[in-house]
């Protein structure tokens, strides 16, 4: 039984559909425009009683063609404060000449000697061009330049990513070269020669400047394991040649009785002039509902004898349907010292290479942090990150533990 004859509705429907499709056409055009993406950040890093760093960063990126991007990044580092000069604390006060040789600073008995003349500003600019070479092959070419008072660095890099297996697998290879130039205050000290203890006495130098060349290689594979899981493996190799010593670091030399030797108690450090560094890195990402877990491990080794393990864990909690998120962060780093690391030197047995830089010693760092992110609409995002880092001596070298606070604000927007 037919209740009533169907009405023709098509004319009305056609008109309404046209209205729907026309009303949003402009919006779709707007989506097509490629705005500049701007990422800005301000980082504050402060070690207890030591170095403080203020670092503003601005990066811009724009799509210039089909999957083709250019990006420029500017970083300004401003460091102030004091850094350990490598000498050990002693029972009596110690006096050191500043690197310039024109002034001196004194350290009270029992305290770790810190070089208070440590302050510098570094400006760095880098640019990159990302371009598809083929449907499945992408290249990123980059260059970077940085300058600080006594240091200049210039580098070039190229990275190629090749998608395979319906884009579930990506192979990456990268090459980079850079050349750094150092012009230390007061010249480049000759390694393992005495540090002047009296203002006005010239240190022994091996010239006014030095350089180092670095070549880096990266091989990586990224695999989509499932709709929610991603794994990444990298191998990196770097070859460094040239002046790899820190011209401002020294070592204390002790006599038979374990006291600073009476004459020339400090010598400049000296490191080998070549270093091969390698690392294996594995990272996994898994999505739990809206949340994402990032876990990574890195094993590092070099021909200076340094080995290290880094464990890193982050978990991104999505709140309020993705408009906010909280991301706790836990990182543990454990390092075995370089072969030529010495807390102090023995008067009777000065080796060919030696450094007391705690960054080459047996040590660990533990970082605990939390990041908060706020997504303000489609094109604005704000974030704040607070972290605390604990650095501890791990071997028998009793260098002083250190703590640092890291605070970062970042804001990203499109315009």
């Amino acid at each position: 039984m037919q209740l009533k004859k169907p009405k023709p509705i098509r004319r009305l429907l056609t008109a309404a559909t046209s209205t729907l499709l026309a009303s949003t056409a402009q919006q779709v055009v707007a989506v097509e425009k490629t705005p500049w993406q701007v990422d800005s950040a301000f980082l504050y890093y402060s070690e207890k009683d030591r170095v403080t760093v203020y670092e503003p960063v601005v990066a811009v990126r724009k799509e210039t063609g089909d999957d083709e991007f250019i990006g420029v990044r500017l970083v300004l580092d401003s460091m102030t404060g004091a850094s350990p000069n490598g000498a050990i604390p002693t029972d009596s006060p110690q006096t050191f000449t500043a690197p310039s040789g024109a002034s001196s600073y004194s350290i009270p008995a029992g305290e770790t000697p810190l070089d208070t003349s440590f302050h510098d500003t570094r400006a760095a600019i880098s640019a990159e061009w990302e371009v598809p070479l083929d449907e499945r092959l992408k290249a990123v070419f980059g260059g970077n330049f940085s300058k600080e008072y006594d240091y200049t660095s210039l580098g070039l890099d190229a990275t190629f990513s090749w998608d395979l297996n319906q884009r579930n697998t990506t192979l990456t290879t990268g090459l980079s070269v850079s050349q750094d130039q150092i012009n230390p205050v007061g010249g480049v000290p000759t390694g393992l020669t005495s540090v002047p203890t009296v203002v006005g006495v010239q240190k022994s130098t091996q010239g006014g400047d030095e350089s180092k060349d670095i070549m880096g290689l990266l091989l990586g594979v990224t695999q989509v394991v499932g709709p929610k899981t991603l794994l990444q493996f990298n191998y990196t190799f770097a070859d460094e040649q040239g002046y790899l010593t820190d011209p401002y670091k020294l070592l204390s030399v002790l006599d038979n009785s374990g006291q600073l030797r009476a004459s020339d108690p400090y010598v400049y450090e000296k490191r080998p002039d070549s270093r091969q560094r390698q690392a294996l890195y594995a990272k996994g990402m898994h999505q739990f509902g809206d949340d994402v877990l990032h876990a990574s491990y890195r094993y590092y080794w070099d021909d200076w004898g340094v080995t290290s393990h880094t464990y890193d864990l982050r978990y991104r909690y999505e709140l309020a349907g993705g408009r906010h998120y909280l991301q706790p962060h836990l990182r543990y780093y454990l390092q075995d010292k370089a072969d030529f690391y010495h807390y102090s030197l023995d008067d009777n047995n000065i080796p060919a290479y030696a450094s007391a830089d705690y960054r080459l010693g047996d040590m660990s760092t533990t970082t605990i942090g939390l990041k908060y992110g706020l997504v303000l609409g489609e094109s604005h995002e704000f974030g704040a990150r607070l972290e605390s880092m604990q650095q501890k001596a791990e071997g028998d070298a009793p260098f002083e533990d250190n703590t640092a606070v890291i605070f970062q604000l970042n804001y990203s927007f499109l315009f």
Binding site: I9, R10, L20, A25, D66, L230
Partner: protein
């Protein structure tokens, strides 16, 4: 990041002068046939189409938690302000509700809690359906541009027009970018932007699962030539329910809460746009045994499988 990496875009060149670009979006295989020999152009159009399809899916999927639909469906009786594109779709949904005298209703999705069309004979009881009907009905919500207010417990689902809308949106983008003939096909809902250079259209095999008397053996698909305009199919013969020897399709009558009886297995309609074709096909399904009479009155080309 995980999903972005997995969004594959395939491109292949065919002998008779066109490129085929494929990707996956809106739970469907999506395909573009582009009459050009320019691979760069084909790739560019493929990317645009994919990005637009994913944008619409992201924005209007009811399975995500970071979009406007989630906000609306979890608004707990509070008004939600929506932007222009969503407002346009809500206006359109309201229009279709009125035009169909309440049969096309984007709030009817909650009835899915009672009905599972998995081929088994589980039929919900009348009390459950009556209870759910309290949360169904466009007349129970408040839509005053740009504010939408749902009663607690109500939900909207734009799935009934989203895919067809995406096809039309992509077609519009393609026309802005190229004079070539492009066929956009998202899982059987499709649009052809213009005739091919030969004057011919594109041959499309519409997937019409035609079953014989025993309900087992699928017969051949229907081949249609489409020169310009949209084509959409409503219905799926594999999703049904049996009760008292009667076979119900998966299209629900939002007024009664029951499946429309004697609805065709599928209805395919050709119209000026894919969205319009989709609405006509859905309205025909909702007419049940009157589907053909309804389509005859609209004077559109159609293919009904019963």
């Amino acid at each position: 990041m995980v999903t972005a990496t997995a969004q594959t875009l395939q491109l292949e060149q065919h002998e008779n002068g066109y490129f085929c670009s494929r990707f996956h979006a809106m739970a469907s295989p999506c395909e573009l046939l582009i009459e050009t020999a320019d691979e760069q152009l084909a790739r560019h159009l493929g990317r645009l189409a994919r990005d637009e399809a994913l944008r619409i899916e992201h924005k209007f999927s009811r399975y995500r938690k970071d979009n406007i639909i989630y906000q609306i469906n979890h608004s707990h009786g509070k008004a939600v302000a929506v932007e222009d594109e969503t407002a346009g779709l809500l206006d359109y949904a309201k229009f279709c509700y009125e035009l169909s005298e309440g049969m096309f209703d984007i709030t009817s999705g909650v009835l899915g809690k009672a009905w599972r069309f998995d081929g088994r004979t589980a039929v919900p009881d009348e009390a459950t359906i009556r209870q759910l009907l309290n949360y169904v009905g466009w007349d129970k919500l408040r839509w005053i541009h740009p504010h939408l207010t749902l009663r607690e417990g109500m939900q909207i689902d734009l799935g009934g027009i989203g895919k067809e809308y995406a096809v039309d949106r992509v077609a519009d983008l393609m026309q802005q970018q190229t004079d070539c003939s492009v066929l956009i096909n998202f899982g059987g809902d499709l649009v052809c932007t213009k005739a091919r250079q030969s004057g011919q259209g594109w041959q499309v095999g519409i997937e019409q699962p035609v079953y014989d008397q025993t309900g087992q053996q699928p017969a051949a698909n229907t081949l249609i030539e489409i020169t310009q305009g949209g084509l959409a199919t409503s219905g799926d013969a594999r999703r049904h329910i049996n009760r008292d020897g009667k076979r119900y399709g998966h299209i629900l009558n939002p007024k009664s809460g029951w499946p429309v009886s004697d609805a065709p297995c599928s209805v395919t309609v050709a119209a000026a746009s894919c969205t319009e074709a989709g609405i006509l096909a859905t309205l025909a399904m909702l007419r049940g045994e009157e589907a053909e009479a309804f389509l005859d009155a609209q004077a559109v080309p159609y293919w009904v499988v019963r």
